[in-house]
């Protein structure tokens, strides 16, 4: 099936007084209909930036310097503001972390839903309202026909995030970009919201890009996962492989440092040091100063994504031409 979203060699730059910062460097991936791609990484790795670039909401002076974003085969990265505005909502739904900043506090949730539905689908008032109530029911808001006339502040956090999801879905977009949709929610509510998102994506054949730092959410929701580090994709592959048998030394460290729930460990695995700032990305592989497997060419040449068994990893360990190969344990997981 043709992918709904294709991102090709995307590069995002921030011109500053002290020179140009490269926030995203050569990022490529695609998402098929009904597929959920999880994007994980530490803060500053570029995961939210990737989402913002796709929906055309990069904060100035950030700009797409090169590369392409294609939605259902058509380029959208070079569209003007007005054209992009029509695509957002109709073809791409966005869900952000904080539901309060997405909803307009002055309008009832029903009015916001009706407005979105009418703008994009051109239905009459009665029909749009009927649909709005239907969407509120679909996302699990009790007594939807009464709640439709409530204001956002009358809902709790979990219910508000459901309204935001209804708002993102009500124009039946082809793609949903969800940036930390559950981070502001308590764990008991998280589970409800995730089950909802996943079910809706599957039933409607919607492609979803799920940006989060919560590996548990990814493991449960995503079909494939991309691990980002310092503005690049370090590893991408099926979720089970990346979580259980990571190939890139960074993904290996990341998975190992998650505290286990089922036992106590005396010393948690940790990755020493911190992710470099955009202004000080080291030459070669950006992870090389923290990498336990580092060798000669890592400090000089930047690796592209290479075949590493079931996943693709940007690591010289997986280049047959390298003088060093991945340790046995890492190659087979």
């Amino acid at each position: 099936m043709a992918p709904i979203l294709e991102v090709r060699n995307l590069r995002v730059e921030f011109p500053t007084r002290r020179g140009t910062l490269v926030a995203l460097d050569d990022v490529s991936f695609d998402i098929a209909p009904g597929e959920v791609l999880g994007v994980v990484g530490e803060s500053g790795a570029g995961k939210s930036m990737t989402g913002a670039a796709i929906i055309g909401l990069l904060e100035p002076p950030g700009r797409i310097a090169s590369g392409q974003v294609l939605l259902a085969g058509k380029r959208i990265d070079n569209l003007g503001y007005e054209q992009m505005r029509r695509i957002r909502g109709r073809e791409i739904g966005a869900i952000f972390q904080d539901p309060l900043t997405t909803l307009n506090p002055l309008y009832t949730v029903g009015r916001q839903l009706v407005e979105t539905i009418q703008t994009h689908l051109g239905l009459n008032d009665a029909e749009a309202r009927r649909r709005a109530i239907g969407w509120l029911e679909m996302v699990g808001i009790p007594a939807a026909s009464q709640r439709v006339d409530s204001y956002p502040h009358e809902f709790s956090g979990g219910m508000r995030q459901r309204v935001v999801i209804a708002l993102a879905l009500c124009a039946e977009p082809k793609l949903i970009v969800a940036d930390e949709p559950t981070t502001a929610l308590d764990v008991s509510i998280q589970a409800q919201v995730i089950a909802l998102l996943k079910g809706l994506a599957r039933d409607k054949g919607t492609a979803m890009m799920l940006v989060t730092h919560d590996m548990g959410v990814i493991a449960e929701t995503a079909d494939r996962v991309a691990v980002m580090y310092a503005g690049r994709i370090a590893e991408i592959g099926p979720v089970r492989e990346v979580v259980k048998h990571p190939k890139h030394p960074y993904s290996v460290g990341l998975m190992a440092s998650i505290p286990p729930l089922d036992r106590r460990v005396e010393h948690l695995a940790q990755i020493d040091g911190a992710m470099p700032r955009l202004s000080a990305i080291p030459p070669g592989c950006a992870f090389n100063p923290r990498c336990p497997e580092v060798f000669g060419r890592c400090r000089v040449e930047r690796p592209d994504l290479l075949d590493a068994g079931a996943t693709r990893a940007a690591c010289w360990l997986y280049d047959p031409a390298s003088e060093k190969r991945a340790p046995e344990a890492m190659r087979h997981g």
Binding site: E42, S188, H213, A219, G253, I258, P259, P260, L268, A269
Partner: protein, 351 residues
């Protein structure tokens, strides 16, 4: 065994907030005063050299407990003893105050951006007059920086030159500078990325071993809490619903809410276990439900749960656990209790 004085003891600790609307609005609307019972009768003791963790969802009152413990709030009710001394009295004595310190959640907000790191860390030393002379103070600051895994040369820098994890190390160095024995840590790793979180947890465990520190650790992350605690208290709507040794809590959680919390954690092992979401949401603490505050969401609730508030008492089967639940007391939780262990084949959670 001789019972030594615990480092910290709270007895029926409570803190209410007046959240009434202004007088005129109240009169016009014909409504009375409204009270938010953020913490409503919490009792626990922390033996020296151990870690007690409080877990719960937002609004359960765990951060309010942290603030009560260090004296940032005064309790509405209840008795608090710090190493056998009434907290109010202890707070009035500098040499007692020095013995407790706090580490905050957000290392971006808790360090003064205009001060050099060496001054941030030296502030408690100067405030308590612990070391005389600039050179000796700076030697001590250098030691503290090395102790938390930074370089003594980092003292010359400003906070903005550090990453989140490094800033949290600076916060820890500052807390340690007055040679405290008791640290209150309010979500110290929840603003950090997972690989950095592991660094800070390892550091805190290491410091506890080396310096014999006592921790009160506040967190919403059960997996983190399991790594660091000796005992764990689970809070819901301002009250403790279960308090147990860490291993017991994870092996045999008793309160339906504790079990629901564990069930709700995403399954990283992808065993195909279906998460069972807790239905409903945490009710408003301004008008908590009657009886057991968890009853509207509880699968085991009956009429008694709706009417009568359960007391925290030792649980059948696991007497080292105290739990506030009528179902556990009456033995109505049996089947669910057995299956829990089998279902817990999980590794979790947030990065």
């Amino acid at each position: 065994m001789v019972e030594t004085t615990p480092m910290f003891e709270a007895d029926d600790l409570a803190r209410y907030f007046d959240v009434s609307r202004p007088w005129l609005q109240r009169v016009l609307a014909g409504e009375g005063r409204r009270t938010l019972k953020a913490v409503d009768g919490v009792s626990f003791r922390i033996p020296k050299g151990t870690t007690l963790s409080l877990v719960g969802e937002s609004g359960c009152g765990k951060s309010t407990v942290a603030r009560l413990v260090v004296g940032l709030y005064r309790p509405t009710r209840g008795r608090v003893l710090f190493d056998g001394i009434d907290l109010e009295q202890a707070r009035a004595m500098a040499d007692q105050r020095r013995r407790m310190q706090m580490i905050f959640q957000d290392p971006y907000a808790s360090l003064n951006p205009r001060w050099r790191v060496r001054d941030i860390i030296a502030e408690p030393i100067r405030a308590f007059g612990l070391i005389e002379g600039g050179a000796a103070q700076q030697r001590r600051v250098g030691e503290l920086l090395s102790q938390v895994g930074l370089s003594p040369l980092d003292g010359e820098k400003f906070p903005h030159e550090f990453s989140g994890g490094q800033r949290q190390r600076i916060s820890i160095a500052r807390a340690l500078s007055s040679n405290p024995e008791f640290l209150v840590c309010d979500e110290p790793t929840s603003a950090l990325d997972v690989s950095v979180q592991a660094q800070i947890l390892n550091l805190m465990k290491d410091l506890q071993r080396r310096l014999g520190l006592t921790y009160l650790f506040i967190s919403h992350n059960l997996a983190v809490v399991r790594q660091i605690s000796d005992r764990i208290g689970v809070m819901y709507l301002g009250r403790l619903v279960e308090l147990a040794p860490a291993e017991t809590l994870f092996e045999a959680p008793r309160h339906p809410y504790t079990r629901a919390l564990m069930e709700a954690i995403p399954d990283l092992d992808m065993t195909g276990r279906q998460r069972i979401p807790v239905g409903g949401e945490v009710p408003s603490p301004i008008s908590p439900p009657s009886g057991c505050p968890f009853h509207p969401r509880c699968p085991l609730a009956n009429d008694r749960c709706k009417a009568e508030r359960p007391a925290l008492i030792p649980a059948r089967g696991t007497p080292e656990t105290v739990v506030a639940c009528h179902a556990v007391e009456e033995g109505r939780d049996g089947a669910a209790f057995v299956t829990m262990n089998q279902r817990m084949g999980t590794t979790a959670t947030a990065l």
